[in-house]
Subunit: 219 residues, 6 copies
């Protein structure tokens, strides 16, 4: 019987994977599936361009094909949900992208959600996703902090930028809930929520929770 | 520390509550919250009219107020989500309605969802809910089986009517996933899915799973 | 033959009812229905929370049940339209909520409407209503003046806050017409319109006019 | 002081005008504005094409310019609302089109409205109008009876065709309320409603009622 | 065999027509249709009001009727697309409005488009058009430069105003591509794009290109 | 100076490429760009699954990278638009997908468009695309003919199935224009249009025409 929920980090950054692992830890329990967070070493340091996304789609599916026998479900832990559509055609077990799961969770926490993106170039890609999901009407807006992979390493400055973006989404766009538009930053969830006075959805947690529910209920 | 996820059946039908209890059983695990399914004895035999819904909103909140100290979360197990908006203003713990949770779950299982309602008079109420959620574009349609509380007791005929509605939603409206627009019918989930060849979302299961995830992750 | 259009103020504030009465006076004419503005003494001083709204839904319907024989129609004069859906299932005469009527009227007066709310906590409730009505695309935005029942008593400051909100809706959100998101403030309609240079819809007037038309035409 | 609400029939068919006159009669009352239904003799026998609509836009405005001093308001009694946008820029008094007024009224009578059109070629024009109004999500569908001006003279066959269209809108498209997509057929309103078991909105009545309310309230 | 693509300037300003002519010149090629830009001398100096638009609808169709034998297609070079719907019913050859063509082209150049209008009074008319087209969700916003026909003659100040509007659409509304909401300003396309760092769609070019494609492909 | 518009067939079927070549031939003219239709020999016989689409995204971009110096523009001739988003980030020349171009062209030919798909499994993918484009409201529906690559070789039966689907889209869903949801079937365009009495958009032609216009106009 398949026992493992794979949380796939499609970039090669193992510190991101470590943070995913910590983020999903509250969901682990005796008798439940193993939750294994894995790194795709062939991936880029960060998924930043559509080329990265398209390549990640294949890498994610290649990984899944190799681990299919053992898999109770898959979470794709990149905010562009690379390979999710393909994987859903390929396997019968639950497949969740962190972007869609974060947004669906946000819809239960506030009326208009705002998204904090990392790079401005990702925003049109996300907007296409909200359109494809048919929920664009609920999006208050999206603001990028404009920091690349290396700048993200300065975590204090990154958090400050996220707080600034979150407050602007709240004050200028009317967001009632924030979505972190990136993986591997779960430690910022609480300080960001406190600084903005709004609930904050961490997307990998959202996806892993939805996947667990689906696995336990068998759909 | 609050330990209980309350699944509130706002009608007085204890056999419905028993079915809710069986439906959410796969979500119980050692170390997790108690999941308690409760009946509101003051409720009607079935929530069929807007008057029932409006009264249930108060009854649900009165129950929640009495059990707040102990509550880790609440699921309102009626497909009109009575009292959910109020309860969210009242308590800090997760509150999920089965209607919204079922639809959000369905959005990860297929593009267009179809809803099998019990009574035709509920359909406009549901359509308002999809509109309020901003996801109406994803609804392929809704078909009622037209059976009141007593007719539902004939479970074979009820299942046959649901299968017929599900097939029509699939063939005439293009549904890729079905949502059962009622509580307490989880035993029909598998035969309905098999007869229609589509995934079927049972709403109380969907809501309880989302609530559990929210509780475990603390948002 | 039923002769009375009831305009129900679901809060207990009789000065609000007096203002409703003045607001609808231009609609009274010989041979037309009596227009009676009534206070529900069991209501809160102001409808501010979802709990107030849900309780008002029952109180409105209880009042209507007692006056049904005599009623030519009902207007529910609270901007959350409490009890309107239930009342429509219960009676055959016209039932209009002031929120929906105000918005429908605004749609004939400008392309994008802006709403001036009283409290920020009401905005998500209103946004759900625009979504349920399927007209969210026409809403330029909503701004709350953030004044509770007692602060509203300072009418000069209240008007100044409404003018400020109206100008922001015009300049920052592109509103072409304003909707007053509250009952009992009809005396502000003209000064607000003049200060903002935009048409302003007073919701109780909008609803009473629609109700009268429906009564006269028999639908 | 302007005293007249003009209901402008932009076609040259005086029997249509006579029917408009009867339709709005229940709205006349002592002390209220005169309601005058007028024929534009230069118009076509029926407004059937976009060329007719575009010509009617000018004729309606030319008429209004000549009667502006005397006008308390204008209703344009053609279901393509010709000239309404122009007239709104030209005069300060209320201007209502029967198409938009009918739809806005229908939104208070049922969730999804269905439209019974006369000619199939008008349907795309109407669909553009629902889109421009931002309410397309509420339209269940539109069915044309396919009868030209002369065929409409056979009123029994016309009613039968409308009943058939109405029942199809109810059964196949899920309409909860019907809109008559034409002027001058108010006598069919009651038999159509009875045959279909749904409320039916007669558009000229809807527009005249909205205009009266706007006149009485001064916006 | 019809050989001419008519680009109709419905205002009487021949210098606008000269600019249209230069704008579409890159589309001319040996063996392709003649592209003739024509002025309607009966038109106003600029199409500014709905009255102008409605009159232009007739003038455009009258012109087209006179040149139908010779026409391979028509472009209506006014950003309110006057007469396009009528002309499509009247002729079998391609008919393109510059407003719709500009927007459809913009949809391939960026996710959210912003429109630079000339006069604020035109914005609601444009918003109705985006609604009728069903693409309003892609519109980031519209800002008018507020310059009448004579003020437009100061081309330096006009360009500066357009750059200012373009930057605001980019920074405050999130536009990824700009649409020039007017005809006859193609010479501003490049400087505007460079100053704003965004692609800019010139609407007459967009429409003429779409018309040419349609003509060559025979649909 | 780049001189070539590449029309990329991402499947390995050279007879499809030959048909693309014939389809775009009317767009070739002296002085215009070379239009070269190319086959990606590494592709599958037909793009049928999301895995095919995701792999095609990379193959298309690899091809484009090799031919970038020479390219005036790119058309991706597969109805799932594989690699279009990535290619737009990678090159400065026009990039058009046949699916989006077909739909944008259809929007100028009729109000509601219907799509004839090849396989039912592609429909959700297309629906996501219409959502991402923000034009889902204009889609009347989509019907698959359910024929795989080999069955498509029986062209008579394929055309008959497409005619049947087109008539159903017209009669049951209200389509005013049809879009062929596949590449390489341009020879069916005219018989399909004649049999259905509706305009039919052939997607590769639509995209090549839009690309040509963009190239000639330099945006």
């Amino acid at each position: 019987m398949p026992r493992t929920l794979y949380v796939i980090n499609p970039n090669s950054n193992t510190s991101v994977t470590a943070q995913l692992d910590a983020a999903v830890d509250p969901l682990r329990h005796a008798g439940g599936p193993d939750i294994r967070c894995v790194t795709l070493p062939s991936g880029p340091p960060g998924v930043e361009t559509q080329a990265h996304v398209d390549e990640a789609a294949l890498a994610v599916n290649a990984f899944a094909a190799r681990h299919q026998a053992d898999a109770a479900g898959f979470v794709v832990a990149c905010f562009s949900d690379p390979g999710v559509a393909q994987l859903r055609e390929r396997v019968a077990v639950p497949v969740l992208g962190i972007s869609e799961s974060a947004v669906l969770t946000a819809l239960t926490l506030g009326h208009h959600f705002g998204v904090i993106a990392i790079l401005p170039g990702s925003i049109p890609r996300h907007l296409r996703a909200w359109g494809a999901m048919g929920i664009a009407q609920r999006c208050a807006g999206e603001i990028a902090i404009g920091r690349g992979v290396s700048a993200l390493a300065d975590r204090e400055a990154t958090l400050a930028a996220m707080v600034d973006a979150g407050r602007r989404l709240r004050d200028e766009r009317g967001a009632h809930v924030l979505v972190m538009g990136c993986a591997g930053m779960a430690t910022f969830r609480t300080p960001l929520a406190e600084a903005c006075g709004l609930p904050v959805v961490e997307p990998t947690q959202a996806a892993a929770a939805m996947a667990l529910g689906r696995i336990q209920l068998g759909w």
